[in-house]
Point group: C2
Amino acid sequence: ETSAKIIDGKLVSGQIKDEVAAEIARMKDTIGIVPGLAVILVGSRKDSQTYVRNKKKACKAVGINSYEVNLPEDCTEEEVLKHIANFNDDSSVHGILVQLPLPRHMKEENILNAVSIEKDVDGFHPLNIGRLAMQGRDPLFVPCTPKGCMELLHRYDIEIKGKRAVVIGRSNIVGMPVALLLQKANATVSMVHSYTKNPEQITSQADIIVSAAGVANLVRGSWIKPGAVVIDVGINPVDDAESPRGYRLVGDVRYEEACEVASAITPVPGGVGPMTIAMLLSNTLESAKRIHNFK
Amino acid sequence: ETSAKIIDGKLVSGQIKDEVAAEIARMKDTIGIVPGLAVILVGSRKDSQTYVRNKKKACKAVGINSYEVNLPEDCTEEEVLKHIANFNDDSSVHGILVQLPLPRHMKEENILNAVSIEKDVDGFHPLNIGRLAMQGRDPLFVPCTPKGCMELLHRYDIEIKGKRAVVIGRSNIVGMPVALLLQKANATVSMVHSYTKNPEQITSQADIIVSAAGVANLVRGSWIKPGAVVIDVGINPVDDAESPRGYRLVGDVRYEEACEVASAITPVPGGVGPMTIAMLLSNTLESAKRIHNFK
Ligand SMILES: NC(=O)C1=CN([C@@H]2O[C@H](COP(=O)(O)OP(=O)(O)OC[C@H]3O[C@@H](n4cnc5c(N)ncnc54)[C@H](OP(=O)(O)O)[C@@H]3O)[C@@H](O)[C@H]2O)C=CC1
Ligand SMILES: NC(=O)C1=CN([C@@H]2O[C@H](COP(=O)(O)OP(=O)(O)OC[C@H]3O[C@@H](n4cnc5c(N)ncnc54)[C@H](OP(=O)(O)O)[C@@H]3O)[C@@H](O)[C@H]2O)C=CC1
């Protein structure tokens, strides 16, 4: 028997896209500016190509101009940096995104640091992360997937202040910034990772669990406190002979088990996934508004 | 009956100062460079003057040149920024420290951000904090008090990896960076603050407790798991009619109670306190070594 409320990321992301589209129309009408997002893709990984295609499609749907640069796998770091510098100087571009992962011969840190902090819509610049970590400072951009998790909690009126929260995973792009955001919202946060012993002892005390470990079926029903809220960021392929592709995508959480204990949960797919792109659009709009001082 | 081992910060800080002094002598002998620390003090708070005096004395003792600028309470932000700019350009200065708190009419953020990240020996620049938070990045400088806490754990051979750690307090200068450092060392970290309900439930599960709340007697014996290690960062004045000044300084932890449960504990004074200055000296040396590429 399923009791948890389903946190519908597909629905919410649709609402956010509508809101973003309306703001973009208002901005265009009022000051004649259209936000622009530049995407740099190096190499020809199939998954990265899909992500970039989806981002461009989403831009188009809300009225953001998108610019794409495709560079060959064996191009030099300097070439990537040159394109970033061009976009940094280009006033029609308000957001710059370098699709990760980069080829191995490039130093991710050098490339991400080159993106102007005013256009870092992914929010991955260390200066931005520092501001996220610090009391009394605000980041220019909140990283998209973490922002999407918070947005789901907010739109479902889930109280965060004073609650116990556990974040499983501590990557630069998901786990660590989610933990910092939950703490900024005055949750008491514990950070679980691969060195954590008996993680279920910690998760079973939490009012909010955010899992971003990338491990299918990691979080069992027994890991969850009755009534807790579960945000499942994981997107993990598992073998599935019945699927035409031979696999299907699942989260970190055993969904059926969790539904019996949690009060609310994000499904995979259709939970956090669609929020990430919606937040990218929202960050790009925010950037254009800030650069043009449009309120 | 007292059973906890005393973590002697006075002793360890003395060892570190000796090590720093020896390295400074070697550097001077080998390449003729003497590290320099510039301290900017605005206004005439008694406590700040004492801190600055102690820092200068400590510099002298290990062979670091110290430079001091005293500005009146009512000087402008621009004047402070001008002095910072001069020190940024001055090759005899390897560390720049702005004594906090600044007068209310100044924006701390603007002033701290002006310190060249290469000379930010306090480690308070958001770019530095961002690197501290991120996996695969390293800060140029670790903030002094947090670094002092970690150094005490290391020098007393206290294992951190895989342990449960709780940090009470999340300030930019102590709690938050301590939590990030413990996590980088692969502890499972929970961050407790003023919105945390029933903090004792969390602390009593921890193998390592770091308290930096600034609340006298906050951490009772019952908050501590038998055998846990307690690092007490708090320095709090409490009334004491028997003391000539009418008050004495205590930590956040009820020391006598804690001694009966903990396996090791820092006293106040003589625990973390003396480590902070030792780490400032160590950071200044590190900076000079890096700038002059001296190994
Ligand atoms: N919904 C979306 O839009 C997005 C979804 N994702 C998905 O989220 C998941 C995480 O992504 P990402 O953060 O990039 O992954 P990473 O591999 O970079 O990080 C995984 C983190 O989980 C921790 N971890 C791994 N195994 C365990 C375990 N058994 N128990 C506890 N912690 C564990 C790791 O710990 P340690 O640090 O010790 O190694 C690490 O911190 C993936 O499934 C990914 O596909 C990612 C981005 C966007
Ligand atoms: N040994 C040394 O060299 C140094 C010692 N110190 C000492 O360390 C202590 C902390 O300093 P600092 O970080 O600057 O102080 P702050 O006042 O900036 O921060 C205090 C932190 O503790 C939290 N807190 C306050 N009350 C409680 C409570 N009852 N329960 C749980 N958390 C609480 C606050 O939470 P919230 O964020 O919700 O307000 C805040 O995060 C002070 O005693 C200070 O004198 C400081 C620097 C150096």
